[in-house]
């Protein structure tokens, strides 16, 4: 019995080492779904709410606005669409595993990309608040010898964020793959007395994977997306406020 755990399937190899993989394609599908959903939610908006659709749209936007304003302050309200996009994209990417797609967030490249955007934003606000000189001086504190550790610390933030999300989502993929394989093996062992093709039906695969999926796909996806957004928001707010 061979169980192989691999990354995303490669569909196309373009020049310069550009790869079009399941990750990219699934992400585009999800982006399209989100775009259509936005379009559908917001068409024909009225000042007096005219239906549940508008209530849902307003609820989502208000929630994102409130989340950003509570955690970052009023001056960061323009961040709400970014945080909203980050949350929906990472959430739907993780949840896409439920529909049998390869979750793009189970690909380290994706989470590294998200974390890089957060990192750039954090750096931007750090430099804006302290100035380049102040920032460089800050790296040499409390004593210049610690500067390398401070630099590592700077990069550890996005890397830990990327690996946290990647780890949690890909763990779901790995564990469900392993559980499926194990249950298939168990079925074939337990049911080998059945005649003919009946023995090859992995009947034990019913049930347990669904329960595991509730944790690894649903709960973990929501939690990780929330943590990612929360950390992004808090790091940026912290850098923007620190004098």
């Amino acid at each position: 019995m061979n169980v192989e755990i691999t990354g995303a399937r490669i569909f196309l190899r373009l020049p310069f080492g550009i790869l079009i993989t399941e990750t990219q394609v699934n992400m585009w599908i999800i982006m399209l779904v989100i775009a259509l959903l936005c379009k559908w939610l917001t068409h024909n908006l009225k000042i007096k709410p005219a239906g549940k659709r508008q209530v849902v749209a307003e609820y989502l936007v208000t929630m994102a606005n409130n989340f950003v304003v509570t955690n970052m302050g009023k001056s960061f309200k323009s961040f709400a669409p970014f945080i909203g996009a980050l949350f929906t994209l990472s959430l739907l990417c993780s949840l896409s595993g439920l529909f049998g797609l390869y979750p793009p967030t189970a690909d380290l490249n994706t989470t590294l990309g998200f974390a890089t955007v957060t990192f750039v934003l954090i750096m931007y606000y750090k430099l804006k608040t302290n100035g380049l000189k102040g920032y460089l001086k800050g790296l040499a504190e409390p004593i210049p010898v610690l500067a390398p550790f401070n630099i590592i610390g700077e990069f550890s933030t996005p890397i830990s964020m990327a690996i946290r999300m990647f780890g949690n989502i890909s763990t779901g993929v790995v564990i469900s793959t392993l559980v499926y394989a194990a249950l298939a093996w168990l079925s074939s062992v337990v049911l080998q007395w059945l005649p003919g093709a009946l023995a090859s039906i992995p009947i034990l695969q019913l049930g347990l994977p669904a329960i595991l999926s509730i944790y690894f796909d649903l709960f973990s996806s929501v939690l990780q997306s929330f943590i990612f957004c929360m950390l992004t928001v808090l790091y940026i707010a912290q850098e923007a406020k620190s004098e």
Binding site: G7, R9, I10, C38, L45, I47, L60, N109, L112
Partner: protein, 168 residues
């Protein structure tokens, strides 16, 4: 077996693509969800503000009107009081006048009646006088059984009656 990535692999283009996807989705979400909804929320807030300020304005207007009307009502009351007072006064004057006139008229009539009575009395007296004269003359004729010259004796009798009349 289709070609797959290693479970853990880093490809700089894939990272860049993820960044690009995130930024594109940010623009999509901003343009198609946040902008219209925020616009509509803002418009609604504006409208609510408008409604509130309108209501406030109407309330103050109503209050002002109420004061004006109350003032007017008060004025009306004093005016009616004045009018009633004037009317009563006028009516009183008029009634007094009427009574005075009536009294005057009554007096006039009384006076006239008295005059009439006097006249009637006088006339009655005169009539009686004449009758008596005739009667006396008749009587005298019968008594003396001869014609009396009326012209001769009339004055005599008249004097007598006059004296009689004065006594009456």
């Amino acid at each position: 077996m289709p070609e797959t990535l290693e479970f853990l692999s880093v490809n700089i283009w894939s990272v860049l693509m993820a960044i690009g996807n995130l930024l594109i989705l940010f623009l999509i979400v901003k343009k198609f969800l946040f902008k219209p909804v925020n616009d509509i929320l803002e418009k609604r807030a504006e409208e609510v503000d408008h409604i509130y300020s309108d209501a406030e304005q109407m309330r103050s207007e109503a209050k002002a009107n109420k004061n004006i009307y109350e003032e007017k009502l008060k004025n009306v009351k004093t005016e009616t009081d004045l009018m009633i007072k004037a009317a009563t006064e006028r009516a009183e004057n008029r009634s007094e006048e009427i009574i005075k006139e009536a009294t005057l008229e009554a007096e006039n009539r009384k006076r006239k009646a008295e005059a009439d009575i006097l006249l009637a009395k006088k006339k009655a007296v005169d009539d009686i006088k004449d009758n008596i004269v005739e009667m006396v003359i008749d009587l005298a004729q019968q008594v003396v059984e001869k014609e009396i010259n009326e012209d001769v004796h009339e004055n005599l009798i008249d004097d007598a009656i006059e004296k009689l009349g004065e006594r009456v």
